[in-house]
Symmetry: D2
Subunit: 294 residues, 4 copies
């Protein structure tokens, strides 16, 4: 199972969250080594905003716990908005182009979970990707296809500022396609999306309970709960963290995001929830079937 975490708030050294937080995303893999829980050693990715144009990306197929370059970057780059992802591969090769976050322009995209029956639906979904975006799919994960489908809807329906609606269309298309193939568990997981200003997260499964997803509580509440804690004491009202699994043993600081829900976070610590409702496509072949150059 993949894991991811995202930070939006004051500019911090990335290592504060990745390495110095108890049960942080790398710590989770370290603890996995101690026998406590499964390993996520099939590729790591970090995307951050700050200096330079658009988000920076670091992708690696070395296990995060022994990746000295990751440790260096995390210790020497500050960012007000970043996403880290640790991959547990399900079939597709362990290679940099399969590491999250995926990027296009200012956008970053991560996923924990899977598409059901990917071998069966992959071709149909690839066909539905806009021909202008098609040649930029460099890897072989389901997530990269989902991302390019969302970009396709954003492009065609003018949803550049509304990635959640684009993703609702995407999930609707995937579910309709899967249904045609008799696949019940079309979509499973959590998604993280950002444009460098906002951060969106979705928790959803076609069938059964989705993968876990949590947001950090309001900072005032955290300070009341842990008035003496040095690390949480440094959090300001601007800071929010989204995690696929709780980090740090501090009851009360994580609020579970309900199944079928999307949240958006923006600077000022503002977190808003809305239902996530996949939109059925007019026709499954609406985006397919017609050759690009017909």
């Amino acid at each position: 199972m993949c894991r991811w975490m995202a930070w939006l708030g004051q500019s911090i050294l990335i290592e504060e969250l990745l390495f110095k937080t108890q049960h942080g995303i790398v710590d989770q893999s370290l603890h996995a080594r101690m026998g406590a829980e499964p390993t996520n050693g099939d590729g790591f990715g970090l995307g951050w905003y700050g200096t330079g144009e658009g988000p920076g990306l670091y992708h690696s197929v070395s296990p995060a716990w022994s990746d000295t370059n990751l440790r260096e970057i995390a210790g020497h780059v500050e960012s007000p908005l970043f996403i880290a992802h640790m991959r547990a591969a399900i079939g597709s090769p362990v290679q940099n182009t399969n590491c999250h976050p995926f990027r296009r322009g200012k956008w970053l995209f991560v996923h924990s979970g899977y598409l059901g029956g990917m071998r069966e639906v992959r071709r149909d979904l690839m066909l539905a990707v806009d021909p202008s975006l098609f040649p930029d799919i460099h890897g072989s994960t389901d997530t990269e296809v989902v991302f390019h489908l969302a970009l396709t809807y954003a492009l065609r329906y003018g949803l550049e500022d509304d990635p959640i609606t684009a993703l609702e269309h995407t999930v609707g298309l995937i579910e309709a396609t899967a249904a045609q193939h008799g696949i019940p568990d079309a979509v499973q997981g959590t998604f993280g999306i950002t444009d460098g200003t906002h951060l969106w997260a979705v928790r959803y499964a076609t069938q059964g309970p989705p993968r876990s997803l949590f947001a950090s509580a309001d900072v005032d509440a955290i300070h009341r709960l842990y008035p003496e804690n040095e690390r949480t004491g440094r959090l300001t009202s601007d800071d929010r963290v989204i995690v696929s699994e709780p980090v740090a043993d501090l009851p009360g600081i994580w609020q579970e995001i309900p199944p079928g829900t999307a949240v958006s976070v923006r600077h000022g610590g503002v977190l808003e929830e809305r239902p996530f409702r996949p939109k059925s496509p007019v026709s499954v072949t609406a985006f397919q079937g017609v050759p690009a150059d017909a």
Copy 2:
């Protein structure tokens, strides 16, 4: 420009050809370091037949000259039939899944050259790949698409024993597709194909002279030319080598394969030539356009 070489003949240690031959494929990259010629440092691949089921594969994105694992395998594996390929990437990522040879079942496939306007034609060509083969495309090279198109024709037209005809259909389809996009240089290069018994090689370009391709001469002729040479002296009448560029400074041992030509080599040192003539598709969209599940 990629380079490749193939051996069919007596069983030899792979290093005999890869490392111990003057101007061999790795030596070429070593000499490149000395300033003599361009570098091919974007991935290496070796496919061999012998022990175990089907061909073995070794893929690496380390430069071949410093790849200790490659040297170990070459020094400790004997094979009567193997292909080595050194990649010079043109745009697509340097990753193992983009390294040649590509494999399916008993088949291996290598390419030196490119498809013109790959960004424009990629989607149409991917669409033409048989849906049952589509999910097995793991990388992002043009070559892997060519290979899966040839497999598609082999599957649909019953050409499992006639890969050259399957490739003639494939090249015909690529040229027709490219023409639709106004791309003149549809296909450039040389191809190597083997099923573990036969070895086929093709030299072809839609436009202009194709990449170079050579076959070793008849062994009797080589022995007459170099009666004292210890290494060529060990060649038997069963041995043939196909190379994208001549190796070893021995005039007369390499015969150029003409443009627009396919050769087939089989045990016994038999080498046969035939013209390579792309076959126009009945319709460019014959393999496309219709959704897989329509």
Copy 3:
């Protein structure tokens, strides 16, 4: 904790032991991913005898479970004698030159365990390595130093055919050196050594119980225990396996090697035990102190 396994017997495809055996060394790491036990993802090594001169080596810092090259080699190379090792690093970098087996000429050497206080004793032990061997230490593990000390004793005391005695001298020197630094747990672990004909294994700890070590039982006994088992049925009287941890859930097929014991295995399935007793050096500085060029 590192793990290793060695095969001496009939020539088999390496994958038979590495991948197809229940709870085999790679399977162990796969199961680790399921949460069952610790991960060994800090480098893998395989050394084998067969075709070519001396042992072949494959070293990789990719986790073994996702290493496609390892799988290919294991599936296409047969060997009557090989050792595989999976590393769990304790401090030293994850790099190929720190992967076991270590090799010199015909010799291979693996270790599971550690030297106590390596930072303190490293320099003294390096100093004791014969100057002619010193420049061939390319990595930074304790194991590589142990190996070169054993080679030093073999060289100086004429122990080329008696690696266990050479290792007894080595461990004695390490213990004396550690004692000078006030380090109680000088040596911990199991060692595997082979020259391509014999296989030796040692289980020893200066203090407390050593790491586990097992040898496969006599084949007749195994056949009596599991007359119906297809895999054990293929074992012949020539076959022996040494493992750091039992593989396969078959009670009775593994016999524990007692602490402080060395075993030697040779073709014919012959396994002999003897005590392993470190030999105190005449003087700790016997091999040190005198500059090489004095």
Copy 4:
């Protein structure tokens, strides 16, 4: 031949120098691919000061031209002081721990060149490294030994603020040691050293002409020479660049540093030259011979 370049001046995106400068260090390797000059594809390193504690390091054994992570870091990290190094290995393995810059605390160290007869002198030189520093040598290059010798002299003679004198002692010791072994070309090359505030560079060879080394000219002079050049127009009087080979085709902007010379650069664009004169050791065995714990 290794290459390196260092920047001290206004804070800039690292890519400005590494990727956007004509004939920059990565461009040099790219052009090498075009046949113009030798390849440097045996490991890349970047050390930079800025955010976080001490210098950050990025080491990679992928060829720099295809290393996407390097491109990302260079495009998203700003620094007023950084050194990049591209390695052409001479014998020692291609691994991250052999990549320059080497680091200890605030210090970074790079080298282009070699020590003569390294196999012969390695042990003696390692012995001369202070025992407290010895265990931190993780790789197998000659450069890392030189660095730890310089650190040894800095430690023992109180030269923490005078790395050039520490390096003069180091080179003197190496030359005396080499002389004992009958090796004439003890030291060859250029060195770059920085503590995050100053930048030092040395050009020296025991025998024959040393590797090339250049400093950028006074910025006023550059502006007078190229009043219209947009890129040099952005240089301020604070900026200095040190390079092993000239970058950019702009005659007059590079001043050669003479053989046997050390330069120091500090903020304000100040560049000072002094002779570099190796200091003979009182005794070659002054730092050797006596066991650490005697």
